[in-house]
Every structure is written in structure tokens, then in C-alpha cells.
Amino acid sequence: MAVMINIKNISKQYKDSDYQSLESVVLQIPQQSVFGLLGPNGAGKTTLISILCGILKPTSGSFEIDGSSSVQNPSEIKNKIGVVPQEYALYPTLTAFENLMYFGSLYNVPKKELKLKITDYLTHLGLSNFMHKKVQTFSGGMKRRVNLIAGILHNPKVLFLDEPTVGVDVQSRATIISYLKELNKKGTTIVYTSHLMAEAEDFCTDIAIIDQGKIFIQGTPKELIQNTPNACNLEEVFIALTGKNLRDVV
């Protein structure tokens, strides 16, 4: 299968830090996969996603997304990716529509097309009656859905989601996952981090488990479960590989 994201020996050590947050990470993410990046707190998931999204620079190494190099064509990469951060990356005093108009404009989506898309996506995700209400009045699930729409307005080839369903109710989570599956069927590669193992097992086609800045293991959920002794599900695979100790990171 063609490779959509090719990560070549990415390392990252933050200033004033004694350890490396990422250590020579090598990873290939197949095209049109739903790729789960799983790991305990402080494993390096968010750091890796931030580097791939262009928010942080790696200490060493490079990557390619859809053939565009992070070293030679960084701005080309940004046109091809969409980001759904863990925080509600929305302006609370703007309405859902206003937020999406602004974020969509940053990706060169033409005005008329943008308005149509916003209306379409908000309707699809059950928010058509709230599009002109301020985001600060929304519930967590509603904010997550607007957060998601802001990341896909420009039809990205790759969508990075950092814990997209954290803190939301069951119905909202189901809606979001269902929508992401639809997006994936239409050709979008999804890179997804989560602490919810059951969700990852159901949703992801490929998984990599990362801990202490290194990729431990990679494969389909079925392969990982089969290859881990006494593991019946992904959660047991995860604990077997990363241990039961608490991970408190400063």
C-alpha cells in the first residue's frame, strides 16, 4: 500500500529538558488508513503530531506527507493537512459560523464554497440550528463537532486528531467516529491519538504504540492482539507493553 506519511528518524529534545521526548522515530503511515498513535501520558504522541502539523520543529530528522518534504516544501504540507487539536481551538465569543468562516479562509477556500461547506457540515453533524450561536454557549460535544469541522473545511488529504472524543457524551462520540469513518472512505488518511483503547480498536486500521519517545510496536489491531501473549483486546496489549505504573510527567 502507498505511504502517505513517511517519518524519518525524528528526534525532539526540548530546551532545558534532560531527556528526549522523541528518539529517532521511524514510521510509515499508509494512504487512506485510520492510524492510531497510542501511548501513555508523556509518551510523545502530542509532540510527534505537533511536529507533523508544523507547530514544532524537530531537533533532527524529517518527514514527508504525500510526497511533500518537511524540509523543502513545508508550506505545501500545511495545505494538505487538517488539524483537530485536543483543546477546543475556537473563539468562544464568535458563533460557530464565524469561527468556521475565519478558519476556512486561512486555507484559501473560496468564500462562496466556504459558506456552502460550513452549512453542509454543520447540518450533517446536527448543529444547523446553532450555527449563529456563540461557541461559549455550546456543550462539550457540540464544541468537539465544530472543532472537527474546522479541521476538514479544506478537504485535507491527512487529518490529525488529538483525542477528538475526550470529555464528550456517548452520542456525540458516536456521531464523530461515524463521520470520521465516512471521511476515511472518501479518501482522507486519519492519524488519531486517544486513550480510549476500545474506540481505537474499533476505529483504527493500523496502530503504533509509542512510549518514552520510541515506537514500541506497529500493526493492525488484530495483529497486535494475536502477537501479545494473554491479550484479548487492545487495552491488554497496551498494558502488557507499557506497564501498569502511573505516568506523571512534568
Partner: protein, 425 residues
């Protein structure tokens, strides 16, 4: 690019105008500040009987010199002389106590035999001179005459500038009285008719003020204060602007902006354009208050022509750019609103102090005068005064505009480079 820029401006304007607290900080507070300061300072431009300063007067001389000093102080319309408290004549001890307690601003104590001693001393000096010239009509026998001291007590809280002003005035008065005494004594000794008047000064002072359309342009408190405090309001914009950037960093929207293909320059251009509009709106709001509301409050009008308003608008844009660059830099460096807000507010106060908004630059120490030369508020204030008070044209304010624009370029460049380096670490 234009669509992105336009959407950025719309977003910033909506964020600003939906923040009531922010609007009050940006528009209402500066207007209140200008009105209050102009009202307070307006009295210093006028000679009003209501603002006479009560002075405790202890006259141990009770003779012509002390009577003349008293007469001149009362005629100056600036003082009310009080010689009794609780119906009892004032003593030096009581006067000193009252002043040091802060009940009165100052006390003047004239020593006993001031007139007598002065007359003896002057006579001796005149006799001495005439004796040397062989023209003395009386025998010259010098006698030791101890000097006399007029003692002044000031409330410790009195400002030095006020004290120096009073001392200089009394010093001038006494010097004139002394020279009058000398002239009179010469006249007596030389047998003059006593009809010459020495009270009128040969050298007089006249203030020549700028003229506009054949009329004297006399500066009023509005013309001094409105430009100064308008600048204060403009530079205060660095507080809400820095908070805006810090909020964006902390609420996650910054991540979305960083991961988008839109360059930082466009993102900041949106903020710069928006806050420049706000600076202009602040300027016009204060201008409207000064032109329309001030007369109803019995405060002087600005009396600006259309040309001056245009020139001031252009200068406001460059001052706004300088202020915005500081706000952006502060927003990029600060990690929390608790860092950016107090620092920004204090920094604006320092800029105002160094810039000559409170105390004129020429009255500052040498070190502060050097510092004021690098203050953007000082450049802008000079530009405003060139227009409002010195009848300057566009050519006269070009140096200030260039400095302010250069300031903006340097600080914005530094801010963007710092931001990029911070994210590379």
C-alpha cells in the same frame, strides 16, 4: 490573501466589540482621563480668585518694607495672607507648627527691624561710595549691620517646583525693594528733588506667541492635555492587544493558526490593521469630546482646523503602529495574562513619564532627557505639539513619523523573529 486579511480583521473587530470590558478600557477610560486631567490643569492656565493660596504671615518688622511686601503679595491675586489664627496674632512657632502639620502650604516670617536694618545698610553703602568719590555730605563711619533673614516655611509635601516659584518671586520683590532704597538714599544724599520714580522697570518682558490669521494663538489646557492623554490612550492599546495574543496562545486557536498555510505576517497584519482602526477611533472619540463637550463643561475648546485634524490623523496612525508593535512583542513574550497586563500597563506609564506627558522634558534630569529622546511617546507628543501649538505643517512632522514607523518596523521584526525562534526550540 486579501480575503484572509479581511476575515482576520473581521474576526478581531468582532472579538473586540463583544468584549464590553475591553471596550470600556479602550474608549471610555481614555475619555474620562482626558476630561479629568484637562479640568484639573485648566485652573493653572487661568488667574482665578478661587485658587488663592492661604499663607501664614508673621510680620515682626511692621514697617515700610514688610508693608510693601505684603501689599505686593496681596496684589498678585495668588495669595491670601493670614496674620491671625483663632483671633490671636500669629507667632513664628505657631505658624511653623501649622505648616509642618500640613494645615497650610506655607508661612512667611519677616524679622524684627528689617526695614530699619536695610535703611542703615543702604545708607552705609551709599555713604561709602560717595565718600570714596569725595562727595559725601555726612561723616562716614561704618557700623556692623547683621544681615536679615526672611524665613519661609513650607509644608513638607509641597512640590519643589512650587516652592522654587514662590521663593523666586519673593526674592525678586525684595531685590526690587532694596534697589528702590538705594536709589532713594542716593537721591537724599545728593539733594535730589524726590520726584524721580524708580518703580518702573526699564527692561520689561513680553511673551510673543504664534499668530494664526492675524490673531494671537494662546495655548490653552485642552491643547496641551488632549494630545498628551490621547497618546497615553493609544499606547495603552498594548495591554488589550497583548492579552488578545496571550489568550489565543492559551485557548488552542494558536495551534490551529500555526498549522495553517497562512503566514504569520498575514495573521499579524490582521491584528495590526484592526488595532490601527481602534487607535484612530480612540483619537476621533477624544477629539469629538474635546470639540463638542468641553465647552459645556466650561473647558477650553481645541480649535483645530480641518488641516490640523488631517495631520494629526496621519501622526496618530504612525503612533498607533509604534504602540501596536509593542503590544505584539509583549503578547508573544508573555505566557499568561497575569504577566502581560500589569507589565503592559506599567510600561505605558513609564513611557508617558519619560515621554514628557506629565513633566516637560526640559524640566527633567539630563539622564531622563536622554532617555526621552528614545521614547516613541515623546516623538509623537512633539509631533502633536508641532501641529497644535506651533502651527506646523506635514514637513514639520515627517521626522517624528519616520521615527515612529522605524520603531514599528524594528519591533515587529524582532517580535516575529523571536516567535519563530521560540518555536524552533
Amino acid at each position: 490573501m486579501w480575503f484572509k486579511l479581511w476575515q482576520s480583521i473581521i474576526k478581531e473587530l468582532k472579538l473586540l466589540f463583544r468584549d464590553i470590558g475591553g471596550l470600556i478600557t479602550l474608549f471610555v477610560m481614555p475619555i474620562i482621563l482626558v476630561v479629568v486631567v484637562t479640568s484639573i490643569q485648566d485652573s493653572t492656565y487661568q488667574s482665578i480668585s478661587a485658587s488663592k493660596i492661604p499663607v501664614l504671615w508673621v510680620d515682626h518688622d511692621q514697617d515700610s518694607i514688610s508693608f510693601r511686601v505684603q501689599e505686593e503679595l496681596e496684589q498678585s491675586q495668588s495669595f491670601i495672607l493670614i496674620s491671625k489664627l483663632d483671633s490671636k496674632p500669629l507667632t513664628e512657632e505657631v505658624a511653623k507648627k501649622e505648616v509642618f502639620k500640613g494645615n497650610y502650604q506655607m508661612a512667611i516670617v519677616l524679622p524684627k527691624d528689617l526695614t530699619g536694618s536695610l535703611n542703615i545698610k543702604v545708607r552705609q553703602n551709599v555713604d561709602g561710595i560717595l565718600d570714596e568719590m569725595g562727595m559725601s555730605t555726612t561723616s562716614y563711619e561704618p557700623v556692623e549691620v547683621p544681615g536679615k533673614e526672611i524665613r519661609m516655611y513650607f509644608d513638607p509635601a509641597t512640590q519643589t517646583a512650587f516652592k522654587n516659584g514662590i521663593k523666586n518671586n519673593i526674592d525678586k520683590m525684595v531685590a526690587r525693594l532694596e534697589s528702590d532704597a538705594v536709589y532713594k538714599t542716593f537721591e537724599e544724599q545728593l539733594g535730589g528733588s524726590g520726584t524721580q520714580s524708580f518703580n518702573n522697570s526699564f527692561i520689561s518682558f513680553k511673551e510673543i506667541v504664534p499668530r494664526e490669521k492675524n490673531k494671537d494663538v494662546l495655548p490653552n489646557s485642552a491643547q496641551h492635555n488632549v494630545p498628551a492623554w490621547t497618546l497615553f490612550a493609544i499606547f495603552f492599546i498594548m495591554v488589550p492587544l497583548s492579552i488578545n495574543i496571550v489568550k489565543e496562545k492559551n485557548q488552542g486557536t494558536y495551534l490551529r493558526l500555526l498549522s495553517s498555510p497562512t503566514s504569520n505576517s498575514i495573521l499579524y497584519a490582521g491584528k495590526i490593521s484592526t488595532y490601527l482602526i481602534i487607535c484612530l477611533l480612540q483619537f476621533y472619540a477624544i477629539l469629538i469630546i474635546a470639540e463638542v463637550v468641553f465647552p459645556y463643561m466650561k473647558l477650553p475648546q481645541l480649535n483645530l482646523s480641518a488641516t490640523k485634524i488631517v495631520l494629526m490623523s496621519v501622526l496618530t496612525l504612525t503612533a498607533g503602529l509604534a504602540a501596536i508593535s509593542l503590544g505584539i512583542l509583549l503578547g508573544i513574550i508573555a505566557k499568561t495574562q497575569e504577566q502581560s497586563a500589569p507589565f503592559g500597563a506599567t510600561f505605558v506609564v513609564i513611557l508617558a513619564a519619560v515621554g514628557g506627558v506629565w513633566i516637560p522634558v526640559f524640566a527633567m534630569s539630563e539622564t531622563m532627557q536622554v532617555l526621552s529622546k528614545i521614547s516613541p511617546m515623546n516623538w509623537a507628543l512633539n509631533g502633536y505639539y508641532d501641529i497644535v501649538l506651533r502651527n506646523g505643517s506635514l514637513i514639520d512632522i515627517i521626522p517624528e513619523m519616520l521615527l515612529l514607523t522605524l520603531f514599528f518596523v524594528v519591533f515587529i521584526t524582532f517580535a516575529l523573529i523571536y516567535d519563530k525562534k521560540k518555536r524552533s526550540i
